[in-house]
Amino acid sequence: MKPKALVLQAHGSNRDFDVMDALTLAGADATGIPLNELRMDKTLLSDFNLLVVPGGFSYADALGAGKLLALDLASYFADEISAFVESDKPVIGICNGFQALVKSGILPGKKKEEKRKNESDVTLTFNAEGHFECRWVDLAPVSQTCIWTQGLEENIICPIAHGEGNFQISELFSLSAFIEQDQIALTYVYTNGVPANGHYPTNPNGSLLDIAGICNPQGNVLGLMPHPENHIYQWQHPRHTRGETEGSGLKLFENGVKYASQI
């Protein structure tokens, strides 16, 4: 029985079909549900085993990318989503979805026992270069706590396409705890695996510690700026005409789907 994946289609999502394609290939039964439909029947969410907040430009990035989608998540689905997360079901937010998870405080999230209210003390702000950028990057899977990146050995090669992917923290934020809890899921690296150390364009947006993706302490919620869903076929590889085939993003989704089927 295939795990059921819900792809939340917000006003302005645009990589929803891309990720549904990836989830299907990874063995899930993927359904796109517009946010307004989910509002009509919030209980729908609990019928699913995996939740995706896809990429796009929800509300045209007005007042900051992901900000108003985050507001929707908080106003309409706060309880449903936290129940979903607590039940250890896999959640992934990609690009605009990541921005929304961060700005709604679902990421970096808190330990189960922690009772503190989520505060947005991390953010994804404007790229250091000052503009939107679309280019392929190399990602090193780091976190072994994150069920999405767990056990991935090979780098993932996939495109970024964003203007606000620069991961930064406030002084209130405890970076050491964040690192100890193994919440750095993916980082920007050179093809040979050497860390970008902030060097553009290997680190394309100036993110702190070359962070491309983070997870919650529990490890079931992943947010990342790059688009692994746009590298699931060989012919998508930017050097496929040179016979290069490595770095598929599909295994990330296979991890998530496999985990979902075990819950």
Partner: protein, 940 residues
Amino acid sequence: MPIYKFTVRFNFQDPRSSALLREARALGFDALQRIMVQDLYFIEGQLAQDDLQQLTLKLLTDPVTQSAAWTELPAPLSAPEVDAVILEVALRPGVTDPVAEQIVRAAHELGFDGVHRAATGSRFQVEGLKVEQVESLAKALLANAVIQHWKIGSIEPSFPEEVESSGTVEIISIRGLSDAELLALSKERRAALDLAEMQAVQNYFIKEQRDPTDVEFETIAQTWSEHCVHKTFKAKIEIGNWVNGNHQSPITNYPATIDSLIRTYLKSATDKINAPWVISAFVDNAGIIDFDDEFEISFKAETHNHPSAVEPFGGANTGVGGVIRDILGVSAKPIANTDVLCFGPQNLDPKSLPEGVLHPRRIQSGVVAGVQDYGNKIGIPTVNGAILYDEGYTANPLVFCGCVGIAPKGLHRKTPQVGDRVIVLGGRTGRDGLRGATFSSMTMDAQTGEVSGASVQIGDPITEKGLIDVIVRARDLRLYNDITDCGAGGLSSAVGEMASTIGCDVDLTSVRLKYPGLAPWEIWLSEAQERMVLAVAPENVDALQKLCDTFDTELTDIGEFTGKGRLIVCYGKTVVVDMDNEFLHDGIPQRQLKAEIREQRIENSKEAPQISNDLISNHLLSLLSSPNIASKASVIRIYDHEVQGGTVVKPLTGIEADAPSDAAVIKPIGTKGTKGIVLSNGINPEYGKRDAYKMAWSVMDEAIRNAVAVGADPQRIAVLDNFCWGDPLRPETLGSLVEACRGCQDAALFYGAPFISGKDSLNNEYLGADGLRHSIPPTLLISAIGIVDDVNQSITMDLKEAGNIIYLVGDFATAQRSVPDVPTITPQVYQALHQAITSGLVRSAHDLSEGGLAVTAAEMCIGGRLGMQLNIEASTLFNEVNGCLLIEITPANVSAFEKQFADLPLQKVGEVITNPTLKISNVEIAVAELVHAFNNPDIL
């Protein structure tokens, strides 16, 4: 009601500031030391201090990176910052402001119901300039009077006046007017109608025994505008040569008169080729061809030149939005955008700018930002394009926007039924772009910027994304019988066209408005963006409404298709339009024009430049960094070319993804099998200046050559034409247009590549304050769409492996001509190359175009970071030719490849070498130098 002003600043260096500083200095503001940007939000409403605090934290700022201050307007005079001038900019009332709309919506979602309305703006803190200099900086870079107002010091928002419309309709007495008065009326209302057309209008209303309402007059002006009806391309043209007064006729290759350029040259080519895979050509919003058993694909390219000249961001923004709606107009899902842009020199001396003209730098950055904003946000990849520079485009930039769509076969419907409702979907209607169609049909003058200001608007891509979501689903559910987009002419064109056979009744009071107070003619003519008109059977309206609710899209029922054969528009009880469809759509008199064909041309053959060996290196490197050839990565990278996951051959390719692809290949998501779509283009204003006929051949060849290079089947390529010319009333200007059209026909027949759609933008001329005409070079864009049977066999242009052999295929002309001919053998060469590609023999292919063979070889080296040993005659290195490509073949495949080209022009010209150097005879250039030159355009 009180208005609060919020000023939001970054806690660290705002990346926007450095970019502005760079741009301002480039425009000659050398004294400028520092410029800081802050965002302004204006919120009108009854709000407590705590509400303001909460709004700031929860809505208006990112607590991690920003801080904000607010004050109630009018703002108390704050002490001026040390050595800084404050400039504040806000949008004019009625200019689309999606952020403001979201502030109100989100504030209510957060429970701040006291928020009434909002506006946005920017605040610039400028250091190092005097107040007068800041004022000129505002005009040159920071603000645009077309859509914004600005002030030194503290600005206040301006909301649209909330006055009810009187609904008054003006009667225009036209029946008694003399010819001179008719022309005066046309000019006064900016109708752009000539005497014959005005007389036709007069006669119609004499027959009707009444005078027209202003709504009727404006409707006719729009329907009969060059933009909507293509008068010049349908005109009867007398061909001749009036050199020194003595008329010569006939002219070789031409009849004495041509009855419609479209029918004579473009449609006729398509008809003669009669390709079975062409599903629809010239009749619909876009051309449609066959893709596979399941799907059809559509393609359309439009220009948005005049708006982009006066408001670059908005002009390009709405240009992209417009062509996407053309694709929706054939019930297809948009899957790829293309953008070809022509600008003046980026290093133009600001002092030499004609009055009322924006600097080419500003135009380019605005246009590129506009394309990026719309394409990225709506989620359509921008996969192919070009950027060209020429002095001729300084006052008239060209912005070609193309869009490709895909749809299941047989679902597109185009026939409204009697009783169907007239349904408007999407954005609301305001005073946007009024008279845009006639505006784009007129020569601009120094005043155009102000007078036609309302002709430009900012787009709202997310609203249009809602249209895509609704229409694609409505199509699959068969909820509508006809669909078209609201473009130039607004509802008058869209509804007018749909009702042109059966007629309709429309009530303008039911149209949803952005703000009250519009006169009936303004509602009917408004060019508000993001609107589509559908014919929907009454029983399907509820289902469509449900879809619209799901995707936050507004649906408005404005009337009924009646079958009465008349166009009847009411404003409440008053009838404001009651016209015979036949008159409106067929009543326009055919234009009678003269075209001057010049027999003798500018020197047709010139000596190839003799370049001594030691100069080859310098010449090649300077070519590689010349604006027209150098890398466009800085633009390409800010367009999303990966969304929708179908981009097989990307705009930039090679090991470091910094080499220019010949064409794009995309595999539409959701299609089965291995088929892909190839997109390429050909354009060459330099040739246009020299010989329009041969230019047409050259750009057609370039487009097809590029498509074939990546793997397109030469037997399955369709093309679009986009003509951008000067004033066709000048016989020599029309003459070169006629020449280009004939070139299009001859080349289309030669390649068997049918035209499936086209568009023209004429009057690209500028009457400068100096009293002189500024006209663009005759510019023809050919956009090609082809099919590759297996995307896994796509070819890129980067060198793959040392030891491979480099062939030159095609009839390489050693004699340089002012415009190269297309060799007769070319179609066979492309066919053979395609066979070689599908047999898996080809490792890389790159076409010879601007800069000749040397540039082609250099770019292949850049792509593969490999060297090449090239053995060809130095004097021919830089020849510009047609029909030729460089091909990389592995030694193992050499004989098979040569067999493929038996009896066809083929030369073994070199070899790929490990040592990263390009070796030409005894000249050696390091690939690193090539890379550096190519990636560092000498713009300044």
